[in-house]
Symmetry: C2
Subunit: 80 residues, 2 copies
């Protein structure tokens, strides 16, 4: 249902590879805009041209919640 996303412990994670570092940073900023709109923020890791997006819901005891799958779906719609 969420291609590219994996359950890693109590998180949902996905990684994208871009042409370069700045493209990965622009993509991270796009994810940040989606997070701000939802007041639900993914952790973002940029390693050169790779961006990893990781979501969990702290208020749900660090479990994957509907907030996470909604954000994950929006991120995929932005980056896939």
């Amino acid at each position: 249902e969420l291609p590219g996303w994996k359950h890693v412990r109590d998180r949902l994670e996905a990684t994208w590879t871009f042409d370069g570092h700045l493209q990965a940073l622009v993509a991270a900023t796009g994810v940040g805009l989606l997070s701000e709109r939802r007041n639900h923020h993914a952790d973002l890791t940029i390693a050169y041209n790779k961006l990893t997006v990781s979501v969990t819901t702290h208020s749900a005891g660090s479990k994957v919640s509907a907030k996470d799958t909604d954000l994950a779906r929006a991120v995929s719609a932005l980056l896939d």
Copy 2:
């Protein structure tokens, strides 16, 4: 010599806290510009309003090198 930076295993790391998520992403993009100029890239982690910058030199056997301390100094000059 590099206030705020710590040796963590074979890396130099520092964390900054900003007013919000988008400010942290803008700061990360600034670090990315410094990295591109040097062709030496820090790993960047953004967790809500915190940005962690982590540098190592893979070609030096993942040790801290002069490239790392140069980048760290430039990042501090940008963000401190």
